[in-house]
Protein backbone atom coordinates (compact mmCIF):
# COMPACT_ATOMS: atom_id res chain seq x y z
CA UNK A 1 0.00 0.00 0.00
CA UNK A 2 1.16 3.45 -0.88
CA UNK A 3 2.03 5.18 2.39
CA UNK A 4 1.24 8.63 1.11
CA UNK A 5 -2.18 7.56 -0.15
CA UNK A 6 -4.97 9.54 1.48
CA UNK A 7 -7.29 7.84 3.94
CA UNK A 8 -10.50 9.09 2.36
CA UNK A 9 -10.96 11.21 -0.69
CA UNK A 10 -14.28 12.42 -2.05
CA UNK A 11 -14.22 13.83 -5.57
CA UNK A 12 -17.09 16.08 -6.64
CA UNK A 13 -19.35 13.85 -4.56
CA UNK A 14 -23.05 14.31 -5.20
CA UNK A 15 -25.89 12.35 -3.67
CA UNK A 16 -29.66 12.37 -3.50
CA UNK A 17 -31.88 9.86 -1.71
CA UNK A 18 -34.13 7.86 -4.01
CA UNK A 19 -37.65 9.31 -4.18
CA UNK A 20 -37.89 12.65 -2.36
CA UNK A 21 -38.11 14.35 -5.75
CA UNK A 22 -34.39 13.74 -6.09
CA UNK A 23 -33.31 16.94 -4.33
CA UNK A 24 -29.53 16.63 -3.86
CA UNK A 25 -28.44 16.16 -0.25
CA UNK A 26 -24.75 16.42 -1.13
CA UNK A 27 -23.38 18.54 -3.95
CA UNK A 28 -19.85 18.73 -5.31
CA UNK A 29 -18.20 17.70 -2.05
CA UNK A 30 -14.45 17.39 -2.57
CA UNK A 31 -12.65 16.54 0.63
CA UNK A 32 -9.43 14.80 1.47
CA UNK A 33 -8.96 13.19 4.86
CA UNK A 34 -5.27 12.66 5.45
CA UNK A 35 -3.94 9.58 7.16
CA UNK A 36 -3.63 10.06 10.92
CA UNK A 37 -5.49 13.36 10.99
CA UNK A 38 -8.37 14.41 13.22
CA UNK A 39 -11.10 16.15 11.26
CA UNK A 40 -14.24 17.65 12.79
CA UNK A 41 -17.35 18.21 10.66
CA UNK A 42 -19.78 20.95 11.68
CA UNK A 43 -23.11 22.00 10.25
CA UNK A 44 -26.64 22.57 11.44
CA UNK A 45 -29.35 19.91 11.23
CA UNK A 46 -30.09 18.65 7.76
CA UNK A 47 -26.89 19.98 6.22
CA UNK A 48 -25.95 16.46 5.07
CA UNK A 49 -23.36 15.48 7.69
CA UNK A 50 -24.78 12.03 8.43
CA UNK A 51 -25.24 11.38 4.75
CA UNK A 52 -21.59 12.28 4.14
CA UNK A 53 -20.52 9.95 6.98
CA UNK A 54 -22.39 7.03 5.40
CA UNK A 55 -20.69 7.75 2.08
CA UNK A 56 -17.33 7.22 3.74
CA UNK A 57 -17.78 3.48 4.29
CA UNK A 58 -20.03 2.51 1.41
CA UNK A 59 -23.27 2.35 3.41
CA UNK A 60 -24.47 4.87 0.81
CA UNK A 61 -22.99 5.13 -2.66
CA UNK A 62 -22.43 8.34 -4.65
CA UNK A 63 -24.94 9.25 -7.32
CA UNK A 64 -22.34 11.65 -8.73
CA UNK A 65 -18.58 11.85 -8.43
CA UNK A 66 -16.83 9.25 -6.30
CA UNK A 67 -15.43 8.32 -2.91
CA UNK A 68 -12.04 6.65 -2.55
CA UNK A 69 -11.05 4.84 0.63
CA UNK A 70 -7.30 4.26 0.54
CA UNK A 71 -7.67 4.38 -3.19
CA UNK A 72 -10.57 1.91 -3.38
CA UNK A 73 -13.67 3.21 -5.13
CA UNK A 74 -16.60 2.55 -2.75
CA UNK A 75 -18.72 1.48 -5.69
CA UNK A 76 -16.55 -1.60 -6.21
CA UNK A 77 -19.06 -4.11 -4.92
CA UNK A 78 -16.58 -6.92 -4.40
CA UNK A 79 -14.48 -4.82 -2.02
CA UNK A 80 -17.25 -3.41 0.15
CA UNK A 81 -16.19 -5.35 3.27
CA UNK A 82 -12.62 -4.22 2.75
CA UNK A 83 -13.84 -0.61 2.71
CA UNK A 84 -15.99 -1.09 5.83
CA UNK A 85 -13.08 -2.63 7.70
CA UNK A 86 -10.84 0.30 6.84
CA UNK A 87 -13.41 2.94 7.79
CA UNK A 88 -15.59 2.16 10.81
CA UNK A 89 -18.72 4.19 11.48
CA UNK A 90 -20.08 4.93 14.96
CA UNK A 91 -23.44 6.55 15.62
CA UNK A 92 -25.17 8.76 18.11
CA UNK A 93 -27.22 6.23 20.06
CA UNK A 94 -25.10 3.41 21.51
CA UNK A 95 -28.23 1.42 22.40
CA UNK A 96 -29.00 0.99 18.73
CA UNK A 97 -25.51 -0.14 17.78
CA UNK A 98 -24.88 -2.83 20.34
CA UNK A 99 -26.01 -6.18 18.97
CA UNK A 100 -25.21 -8.69 21.70
CA UNK A 101 -26.15 -8.53 25.38
CA UNK A 102 -22.71 -9.11 26.87
CA UNK A 103 -19.95 -6.56 26.25
CA UNK A 104 -17.24 -8.92 24.95
CA UNK A 105 -19.70 -10.80 22.76
CA UNK A 106 -20.79 -7.56 21.17
CA UNK A 107 -17.24 -6.44 20.52
CA UNK A 108 -16.62 -9.80 18.84
CA UNK A 109 -19.49 -9.23 16.40
CA UNK A 110 -17.45 -7.70 13.57
CA UNK A 111 -14.53 -10.18 13.71
CA UNK A 112 -17.08 -13.00 13.77
CA UNK A 113 -18.73 -11.59 10.68
CA UNK A 114 -15.33 -11.44 9.02
CA UNK A 115 -14.78 -15.08 9.97
CA UNK A 116 -11.57 -14.25 11.86
CA UNK A 117 -10.24 -17.35 13.67
CA UNK A 118 -11.13 -17.68 17.34
CA UNK A 119 -7.75 -16.84 18.92
CA UNK A 120 -7.37 -13.76 16.75
CA UNK A 121 -10.96 -12.69 17.55
CA UNK A 122 -10.23 -13.03 21.27
CA UNK A 123 -7.02 -11.00 20.85
CA UNK A 124 -8.86 -8.26 18.99
CA UNK A 125 -11.63 -8.12 21.59
CA UNK A 126 -9.03 -7.60 24.30
CA UNK A 127 -7.14 -4.99 22.28
CA UNK A 128 -10.35 -3.09 21.47
CA UNK A 129 -11.73 -3.15 25.02
CA UNK A 130 -8.38 -2.03 26.43
CA UNK A 131 -8.17 0.76 23.85
CA UNK A 132 -11.42 2.24 25.16
CA UNK A 133 -10.60 1.34 28.76
CA UNK A 134 -13.54 -1.05 29.18
CA UNK A 135 -11.68 -4.35 29.58
CA UNK A 136 -12.86 -4.80 33.19
CA UNK A 137 -16.44 -4.69 31.99
CA UNK A 138 -16.06 -7.44 29.39
CA UNK A 139 -18.52 -9.82 31.06
CA UNK A 140 -21.04 -7.14 32.01
CA UNK A 141 -24.38 -6.79 30.38
CA UNK A 142 -24.34 -3.72 28.10
CA UNK A 143 -27.76 -2.72 29.38
CA UNK A 144 -26.36 -1.93 32.82
CA UNK A 145 -23.60 0.45 31.68
CA UNK A 146 -23.71 4.24 31.70
CA UNK A 147 -24.18 6.15 28.45
CA UNK A 148 -20.49 6.98 28.11
CA UNK A 149 -19.51 3.38 28.80
CA UNK A 150 -22.01 2.08 26.24
CA UNK A 151 -20.66 4.46 23.62
CA UNK A 152 -17.12 3.28 24.37
CA UNK A 153 -18.25 -0.32 23.94
CA UNK A 154 -19.81 0.64 20.61
CA UNK A 155 -16.50 2.22 19.57
CA UNK A 156 -14.64 -0.92 20.71
CA UNK A 157 -16.96 -2.92 18.46
CA UNK A 158 -15.56 -0.91 15.58
CA UNK A 159 -11.93 -1.00 16.72
CA UNK A 160 -12.18 -4.81 16.64
CA UNK A 161 -12.24 -4.53 12.83
CA UNK A 162 -8.80 -2.91 13.10
CA UNK A 163 -9.92 0.10 11.06
CA UNK A 164 -7.49 2.75 9.86
CA UNK A 165 -10.16 5.40 10.28
CA UNK A 166 -13.21 5.86 12.50
CA UNK A 167 -16.03 8.18 11.51
CA UNK A 168 -18.16 9.22 14.49
CA UNK A 169 -21.57 10.75 13.84
CA UNK A 170 -22.37 12.97 16.85
CA UNK A 171 -21.05 10.38 19.32
CA UNK A 172 -21.62 12.61 22.34
CA UNK A 173 -25.02 14.07 21.48
CA UNK A 174 -26.95 11.75 23.82
CA UNK A 175 -24.48 11.78 26.71
CA UNK A 176 -24.20 13.71 29.95
CA UNK A 177 -21.08 15.87 30.48
CA UNK A 178 -19.20 13.04 32.21
CA UNK A 179 -19.98 10.53 29.43
CA UNK A 180 -19.09 13.13 26.84
CA UNK A 181 -15.66 13.72 28.38
CA UNK A 182 -15.05 9.93 28.58
CA UNK A 183 -15.82 9.50 24.91
CA UNK A 184 -13.85 12.54 23.80
CA UNK A 185 -10.71 11.58 25.67
CA UNK A 186 -11.04 8.06 24.26
CA UNK A 187 -11.35 9.40 20.72
CA UNK A 188 -8.38 11.71 21.20
CA UNK A 189 -6.27 8.86 22.55
CA UNK A 190 -7.22 6.59 19.66
CA UNK A 191 -6.02 9.30 17.31
CA UNK A 192 -2.76 10.11 19.09
CA UNK A 193 -1.68 6.76 20.50
CA UNK A 194 -3.25 4.18 18.23
CA UNK A 195 -2.75 6.27 15.10
CA UNK A 196 -6.36 5.94 13.97
CA UNK A 197 -7.62 8.66 11.64
CA UNK A 198 -10.71 10.33 13.12
CA UNK A 199 -13.58 12.09 11.41
CA UNK A 200 -15.93 13.43 14.09
CA UNK A 201 -19.26 15.01 13.32
CA UNK A 202 -20.40 17.23 16.15
CA UNK A 203 -22.67 19.99 17.27
CA UNK A 204 -20.34 21.24 19.94
CA UNK A 205 -17.80 23.87 18.96
CA UNK A 206 -15.55 22.94 21.86
CA UNK A 207 -15.28 19.41 20.51
CA UNK A 208 -14.51 20.70 17.04
CA UNK A 209 -11.74 22.83 18.54
CA UNK A 210 -9.88 19.60 19.51
CA UNK A 211 -9.47 18.66 15.85
CA UNK A 212 -6.57 19.43 13.53
CA UNK A 213 -9.01 20.56 10.95
CA UNK A 214 -12.63 21.70 10.84
CA UNK A 215 -14.96 21.28 7.88
CA UNK A 216 -18.23 23.21 7.89
CA UNK A 217 -21.15 22.04 5.80
CA UNK A 218 -24.23 23.88 4.70
CA UNK A 219 -27.01 22.64 2.38
CA UNK A 220 -24.94 19.67 1.24
CA UNK A 221 -21.83 21.67 0.42
CA UNK A 222 -18.53 22.26 2.15
CA UNK A 223 -18.48 25.98 2.92
CA UNK A 224 -15.47 26.29 5.23
CA UNK A 225 -12.43 24.08 5.59
CA UNK A 226 -9.37 24.86 7.66
CA UNK A 227 -7.73 24.74 11.07
CA UNK A 228 -10.05 25.46 14.03
CA UNK A 229 -8.41 28.91 14.30
CA UNK A 230 -9.11 29.77 10.69
CA UNK A 231 -12.66 28.49 10.75
CA UNK A 232 -13.73 29.99 14.08
CA UNK A 233 -12.38 33.42 13.20
CA UNK A 234 -15.26 33.63 10.69
CA UNK A 235 -17.64 34.43 13.54
CA UNK A 236 -20.21 36.32 11.47
CA UNK A 237 -20.29 33.79 8.67
CA UNK A 238 -20.74 30.90 11.12
CA UNK A 239 -23.60 32.80 12.72
CA UNK A 240 -25.28 33.24 9.33
CA UNK A 241 -25.15 29.42 9.00
CA UNK A 242 -26.89 28.97 12.34
CA UNK A 243 -23.65 27.99 14.09
CA UNK A 244 -21.94 29.71 16.95
CA UNK A 245 -18.21 30.01 17.33
CA UNK A 246 -16.89 29.05 20.79
CA UNK A 247 -17.88 31.63 23.42
CA UNK A 248 -14.31 32.85 23.94
CA UNK A 249 -13.89 33.42 20.20
CA UNK A 250 -17.19 35.30 20.02
CA UNK A 251 -16.25 37.47 23.01
CA UNK A 252 -12.95 38.53 21.49
CA UNK A 253 -14.67 39.05 18.16
CA UNK A 254 -17.09 41.52 19.79
CA UNK A 255 -14.27 43.30 21.63
CA UNK A 256 -12.35 43.66 18.38
CA UNK A 257 -14.94 46.20 17.31
CA UNK A 258 -13.34 48.60 19.83
CA UNK A 259 -9.88 47.14 20.12
CA UNK A 260 -8.80 45.98 16.65
CA UNK A 261 -5.40 44.99 18.00
CA UNK A 262 -6.90 41.87 19.62
CA UNK A 263 -6.16 38.66 17.71
CA UNK A 264 -9.02 37.23 15.57
CA UNK A 265 -8.21 33.58 16.09
CA UNK A 266 -8.73 32.95 19.80
CA UNK A 267 -9.88 29.38 20.53
CA UNK A 268 -10.54 29.04 24.26
CA UNK A 269 -10.96 30.93 27.51
CA UNK A 270 -7.26 30.64 28.35
CA UNK A 271 -6.20 32.29 25.10
CA UNK A 272 -8.88 34.96 25.45
CA UNK A 273 -7.63 35.83 28.93
CA UNK A 274 -4.04 36.01 27.66
CA UNK A 275 -5.06 38.26 24.76
CA UNK A 276 -6.94 40.67 27.04
CA UNK A 277 -4.10 40.70 29.56
CA UNK A 278 -1.68 41.42 26.77
CA UNK A 279 -3.87 44.32 25.61
CA UNK A 280 -3.94 45.84 29.12
CA UNK A 281 -0.21 45.45 29.49
CA UNK A 282 0.19 47.26 26.19
CA UNK A 283 -2.00 50.15 27.44
CA UNK A 284 -0.27 50.32 30.85
CA UNK A 285 3.21 50.02 29.38
Amino acid sequence: MNKTEDMIQTIELGFSYPGEGGAPVLQGVSLTVERGSFVAVLGHNGSGKSTLAKQMNAVLLPTEGKVLVEGIDTREEARVFEVRQKVGLAFQNPDNQIVATIVEEDVAFAPENLNIPQEETARRVEYALRAVDMWEYRTHSAHQLSGGQKQRVAIAGIIAMMPHCIVLDEPTAMLDPVGREEVLSTVRRLNRENGITIVMITHYMKEAAMADRVVVMDKGKVVLDGTPREVFSEVDYLESLGLEAPQATTLIHRLRGDCPSLPADVLDEEEAAQAILHLFEGVAG
Binding site: R84, L89, F91, N96, Q97, N113
Partner: protein
Protein backbone atom coordinates in the same frame (compact mmCIF):
# COMPACT_ATOMS: atom_id res chain seq x y z
CA UNK B 1 -42.90 -3.99 34.19
CA UNK B 2 -39.74 -4.42 36.24
CA UNK B 3 -40.87 -7.97 36.95
CA UNK B 4 -40.11 -9.16 33.45
CA UNK B 5 -37.16 -11.49 33.80
CA UNK B 6 -37.48 -13.03 30.35
CA UNK B 7 -34.10 -13.46 28.73
CA UNK B 8 -32.13 -12.03 31.63
CA UNK B 9 -28.70 -13.43 32.26
CA UNK B 10 -26.80 -13.56 35.56
CA UNK B 11 -23.14 -14.11 34.74
CA UNK B 12 -21.43 -16.64 36.94
CA UNK B 13 -18.92 -19.42 36.95
CA UNK B 14 -20.78 -22.39 38.40
CA UNK B 15 -21.10 -25.90 37.03
CA UNK B 16 -24.48 -24.97 35.55
CA UNK B 17 -23.05 -21.86 33.88
CA UNK B 18 -20.22 -23.89 32.38
CA UNK B 19 -22.40 -26.62 30.88
CA UNK B 20 -22.50 -26.58 27.08
CA UNK B 21 -25.42 -24.44 25.89
CA UNK B 22 -26.63 -27.20 23.56
CA UNK B 23 -26.64 -29.64 26.46
CA UNK B 24 -28.57 -27.20 28.62
CA UNK B 25 -31.16 -26.75 25.89
CA UNK B 26 -31.58 -30.51 25.54
CA UNK B 27 -31.74 -30.86 29.33
CA UNK B 28 -34.58 -28.35 29.53
CA UNK B 29 -36.44 -30.10 26.72
CA UNK B 30 -36.00 -33.46 28.48
CA UNK B 31 -37.13 -31.91 31.75
CA UNK B 32 -40.30 -30.60 30.09
CA UNK B 33 -41.00 -34.00 28.49
CA UNK B 34 -40.58 -35.60 31.90
CA UNK B 35 -42.97 -33.08 33.46
CA UNK B 36 -45.63 -34.41 31.12
CA UNK B 37 -44.81 -38.02 31.94
CA UNK B 38 -45.21 -37.44 35.66
CA UNK B 39 -48.58 -38.59 36.98
CA UNK B 40 -48.21 -38.50 40.78
CA UNK B 41 -47.38 -36.03 43.53
CA UNK B 42 -44.35 -38.10 44.35
CA UNK B 43 -43.19 -37.60 40.75
CA UNK B 44 -43.58 -33.84 41.01
CA UNK B 45 -41.64 -33.87 44.24
CA UNK B 46 -38.87 -35.72 42.42
CA UNK B 47 -38.85 -33.16 39.58
CA UNK B 48 -38.93 -30.33 42.11
CA UNK B 49 -35.89 -31.69 43.92
CA UNK B 50 -34.05 -32.06 40.61
CA UNK B 51 -34.71 -28.42 39.74
CA UNK B 52 -33.94 -27.18 43.27
CA UNK B 53 -30.60 -28.98 43.10
CA UNK B 54 -29.78 -27.29 39.79
CA UNK B 55 -30.80 -23.89 41.18
CA UNK B 56 -28.66 -24.44 44.28
CA UNK B 57 -25.61 -25.34 42.17
CA UNK B 58 -26.16 -22.34 39.87
CA UNK B 59 -26.25 -19.92 42.84
CA UNK B 60 -29.19 -18.09 41.23
CA UNK B 61 -31.13 -16.57 44.14
CA UNK B 62 -34.35 -18.58 44.70
CA UNK B 63 -36.17 -15.24 44.79
CA UNK B 64 -35.29 -14.76 41.12
CA UNK B 65 -36.76 -18.17 40.31
CA UNK B 66 -40.04 -17.21 41.95
CA UNK B 67 -40.02 -13.85 40.25
CA UNK B 68 -40.00 -15.57 36.87
CA UNK B 69 -43.45 -16.92 37.77
CA UNK B 70 -44.94 -13.54 38.60
CA UNK B 71 -46.10 -12.53 35.13
CA UNK B 72 -47.87 -15.92 34.88
CA UNK B 73 -49.80 -15.80 38.14
CA UNK B 74 -53.00 -14.78 36.38
CA UNK B 75 -52.71 -17.58 33.85
CA UNK B 76 -51.97 -20.08 36.61
CA UNK B 77 -54.99 -18.98 38.64
CA UNK B 78 -57.23 -19.07 35.59
CA UNK B 79 -56.29 -22.60 34.50
CA UNK B 80 -56.50 -23.83 38.08
CA UNK B 81 -60.08 -22.56 38.48
CA UNK B 82 -61.09 -24.04 35.14
CA UNK B 83 -59.58 -27.41 36.02
CA UNK B 84 -61.10 -27.39 39.49
CA UNK B 85 -64.68 -26.84 38.33
CA UNK B 86 -64.75 -28.40 34.89
CA UNK B 87 -63.38 -31.81 35.76
CA UNK B 88 -66.06 -34.37 36.40
CA UNK B 89 -65.64 -36.60 39.43
CA UNK B 90 -66.37 -36.97 43.12
CA UNK B 91 -67.86 -33.73 44.46
CA UNK B 92 -65.70 -31.69 46.81
CA UNK B 93 -67.76 -28.52 47.35
CA UNK B 94 -70.31 -26.45 45.48
CA UNK B 95 -70.44 -22.72 44.90
CA UNK B 96 -73.55 -21.38 43.24
CA UNK B 97 -74.13 -23.85 40.37
CA UNK B 98 -70.53 -24.95 40.06
CA UNK B 99 -69.26 -28.09 41.67
CA UNK B 100 -65.58 -28.65 42.33
CA UNK B 101 -64.38 -32.23 42.26
CA UNK B 102 -61.54 -34.09 43.95
CA UNK B 103 -60.28 -35.07 40.52
CA UNK B 104 -60.45 -31.42 39.49
CA UNK B 105 -58.42 -30.41 42.52
CA UNK B 106 -55.77 -32.96 41.63
CA UNK B 107 -55.68 -31.91 37.99
CA UNK B 108 -55.50 -28.22 38.95
CA UNK B 109 -52.64 -28.89 41.32
CA UNK B 110 -50.71 -30.98 38.78
CA UNK B 111 -51.21 -28.46 36.03
CA UNK B 112 -50.02 -25.64 38.27
CA UNK B 113 -46.92 -27.59 39.29
CA UNK B 114 -46.24 -28.54 35.70
CA UNK B 115 -46.44 -24.98 34.36
CA UNK B 116 -44.47 -23.52 37.29
CA UNK B 117 -41.67 -26.06 37.01
CA UNK B 118 -41.59 -25.61 33.25
CA UNK B 119 -41.24 -21.84 33.52
CA UNK B 120 -38.65 -22.07 36.28
CA UNK B 121 -36.55 -24.58 34.35
CA UNK B 122 -36.59 -22.39 31.23
CA UNK B 123 -35.76 -19.34 33.34
CA UNK B 124 -32.82 -21.14 34.90
CA UNK B 125 -31.59 -21.80 31.36
CA UNK B 126 -31.65 -18.12 30.38
CA UNK B 127 -30.36 -16.97 33.80
CA UNK B 128 -27.27 -19.13 33.47
CA UNK B 129 -26.56 -19.00 29.73
CA UNK B 130 -25.35 -15.89 27.93
CA UNK B 131 -27.76 -14.98 25.14
CA UNK B 132 -25.10 -15.51 22.48
CA UNK B 133 -24.32 -19.00 23.76
CA UNK B 134 -28.02 -19.74 23.93
CA UNK B 135 -28.71 -18.68 20.36
CA UNK B 136 -25.48 -20.32 19.20
CA UNK B 137 -26.65 -23.52 20.87
CA UNK B 138 -30.00 -23.29 19.11
CA UNK B 139 -28.27 -22.63 15.82
CA UNK B 140 -26.12 -25.73 16.26
CA UNK B 141 -29.01 -27.92 17.35
CA UNK B 142 -31.07 -26.77 14.38
CA UNK B 143 -28.05 -27.15 12.09
CA UNK B 144 -29.49 -30.13 10.22
CA UNK B 145 -32.45 -27.97 9.16
CA UNK B 146 -30.07 -25.94 6.99
CA UNK B 147 -30.28 -28.77 4.49
CA UNK B 148 -34.00 -27.95 4.20
CA UNK B 149 -33.10 -24.30 3.47
CA UNK B 150 -34.29 -23.12 6.88
CA UNK B 151 -32.34 -19.85 7.54
CA UNK B 152 -31.00 -21.14 10.85
CA UNK B 153 -28.23 -18.54 11.20
CA UNK B 154 -30.61 -15.65 10.59
CA UNK B 155 -33.15 -17.07 13.04
CA UNK B 156 -30.43 -17.29 15.68
CA UNK B 157 -29.39 -13.68 14.97
CA UNK B 158 -33.03 -12.62 15.38
CA UNK B 159 -33.12 -14.36 18.75
CA UNK B 160 -29.89 -12.64 19.82
CA UNK B 161 -31.27 -9.23 18.92
CA UNK B 162 -34.64 -9.93 20.52
CA UNK B 163 -32.97 -10.94 23.79
CA UNK B 164 -30.77 -7.86 23.67
CA UNK B 165 -33.68 -5.49 23.12
CA UNK B 166 -36.16 -6.90 25.66
CA UNK B 167 -34.79 -4.94 28.65
CA UNK B 168 -34.45 -1.83 26.50
CA UNK B 169 -38.06 -1.94 25.33
CA UNK B 170 -39.33 -2.75 28.82
CA UNK B 171 -37.52 0.33 30.10
CA UNK B 172 -38.88 2.41 27.26
CA UNK B 173 -42.45 1.25 27.90
CA UNK B 174 -42.01 2.26 31.53
CA UNK B 175 -40.79 5.69 30.50
CA UNK B 176 -43.65 6.27 28.06
CA UNK B 177 -46.18 5.12 30.66
CA UNK B 178 -44.82 7.53 33.26
CA UNK B 179 -44.84 10.32 30.70
CA UNK B 180 -48.47 9.62 29.81
CA UNK B 181 -49.44 9.28 33.45
CA UNK B 182 -47.86 12.65 34.15
CA UNK B 183 -50.23 14.03 31.54
CA UNK B 184 -53.16 12.51 33.34
CA UNK B 185 -53.53 9.23 31.49
CA UNK B 186 -55.23 6.53 33.53
CA UNK B 187 -54.29 2.89 32.95
CA UNK B 188 -55.77 1.37 36.07
CA UNK B 189 -59.48 2.05 36.05
CA UNK B 190 -62.37 1.39 33.73
CA UNK B 191 -63.50 -1.67 31.81
CA UNK B 192 -61.43 -3.84 29.53
CA UNK B 193 -62.26 -1.72 26.50
CA UNK B 194 -61.35 1.53 28.24
CA UNK B 195 -58.07 0.09 29.46
CA UNK B 196 -57.23 -1.27 26.03
CA UNK B 197 -57.89 2.16 24.58
CA UNK B 198 -55.62 3.74 27.17
CA UNK B 199 -52.80 1.57 25.84
CA UNK B 200 -52.87 3.16 22.38
CA UNK B 201 -50.83 6.22 23.43
CA UNK B 202 -48.23 3.81 24.76
CA UNK B 203 -48.10 1.41 21.86
CA UNK B 204 -47.90 4.01 19.11
CA UNK B 205 -44.73 5.75 20.37
CA UNK B 206 -43.27 2.36 21.27
CA UNK B 207 -43.77 1.08 17.72
CA UNK B 208 -42.41 4.25 16.18
CA UNK B 209 -39.28 4.14 18.29
CA UNK B 210 -38.84 0.40 17.69
CA UNK B 211 -38.86 0.93 13.95
CA UNK B 212 -36.33 3.72 14.27
CA UNK B 213 -34.15 1.49 16.45
CA UNK B 214 -34.44 -1.36 13.97
CA UNK B 215 -33.41 0.92 11.13
CA UNK B 216 -30.39 2.26 12.99
CA UNK B 217 -29.36 -1.18 14.20
CA UNK B 218 -29.51 -2.56 10.66
CA UNK B 219 -27.15 0.17 9.43
CA UNK B 220 -24.82 -0.34 12.41
CA UNK B 221 -24.71 -4.10 11.70
CA UNK B 222 -23.92 -3.41 8.05
CA UNK B 223 -21.09 -1.13 9.16
CA UNK B 224 -19.70 -4.05 11.13
CA UNK B 225 -19.66 -6.25 8.05
CA UNK B 226 -22.71 -8.36 8.90
CA UNK B 227 -23.73 -10.62 6.04
CA UNK B 228 -25.87 -13.69 5.71
CA UNK B 229 -23.79 -15.46 3.11
CA UNK B 230 -20.75 -17.44 4.08
CA UNK B 231 -19.51 -18.62 7.46
CA UNK B 232 -19.09 -16.59 10.63
CA UNK B 233 -16.49 -17.43 13.25
CA UNK B 234 -17.10 -17.47 17.00
CA UNK B 235 -15.44 -15.85 19.98
CA UNK B 236 -16.42 -18.82 22.10
CA UNK B 237 -16.22 -22.31 20.67
CA UNK B 238 -18.58 -24.93 22.05
CA UNK B 239 -17.08 -28.19 23.15
CA UNK B 240 -18.83 -31.01 24.96
CA UNK B 241 -16.89 -32.40 27.88
CA UNK B 242 -17.30 -34.96 30.65
CA UNK B 243 -19.70 -32.93 32.81
CA UNK B 244 -21.99 -32.40 29.81
CA UNK B 245 -22.31 -36.15 29.24
CA UNK B 246 -22.94 -36.74 32.95
CA UNK B 247 -25.72 -34.14 33.01
CA UNK B 248 -27.36 -35.69 29.97
CA UNK B 249 -27.12 -39.16 31.49
CA UNK B 250 -28.78 -37.98 34.71
CA UNK B 251 -31.67 -36.38 32.85
CA UNK B 252 -32.15 -39.46 30.65
CA UNK B 253 -32.04 -41.76 33.68
CA UNK B 254 -34.87 -39.73 35.20
CA UNK B 255 -37.27 -40.99 32.51
CA UNK B 256 -37.32 -44.67 33.61
CA UNK B 257 -37.21 -43.46 37.22
CA UNK B 258 -40.45 -41.59 36.61
CA UNK B 259 -42.19 -44.25 34.55
CA UNK B 260 -41.16 -47.24 36.67
CA UNK B 261 -40.68 -45.53 40.02
CA UNK B 262 -42.63 -42.47 41.06
CA UNK B 263 -45.62 -43.12 38.79
CA UNK B 264 -46.13 -46.51 40.48
CA UNK B 265 -46.41 -44.96 43.92
CA UNK B 266 -50.12 -45.20 44.70
CA UNK B 267 -50.28 -41.99 46.65
CA UNK B 268 -53.09 -39.68 45.67
CA UNK B 269 -54.83 -36.72 47.23
CA UNK B 270 -58.17 -38.29 46.38
CA UNK B 271 -59.40 -40.15 49.47
CA UNK B 272 -59.20 -43.87 48.69
CA UNK B 273 -62.76 -44.46 49.90
CA UNK B 274 -63.95 -42.32 46.96
CA UNK B 275 -61.44 -43.55 44.35
Amino acid sequence: MKDITLGQFFPGDTLIHRLDARVKLVLVILFIVELFLVKTLCGFAFMGVLLALAVAISKVPPKMMLRSLKPLLLLLAFTSVLNLFYTKGDPLFTIWKLTASWQGLELALFMMLRISLLIMASSLLTYTTSPIMLTDGMERLMGPLKALHVPVGELAMMMTIALRFIPLLVEETDKIMSAQKARGADFESGGVLKRAKALIPILVPLFVSSFRRADELAVAMECRCYHTSGPRSRLKVMKMCFRDYVALAVMLAAIPAILLGTNQVLFSIIPSALG
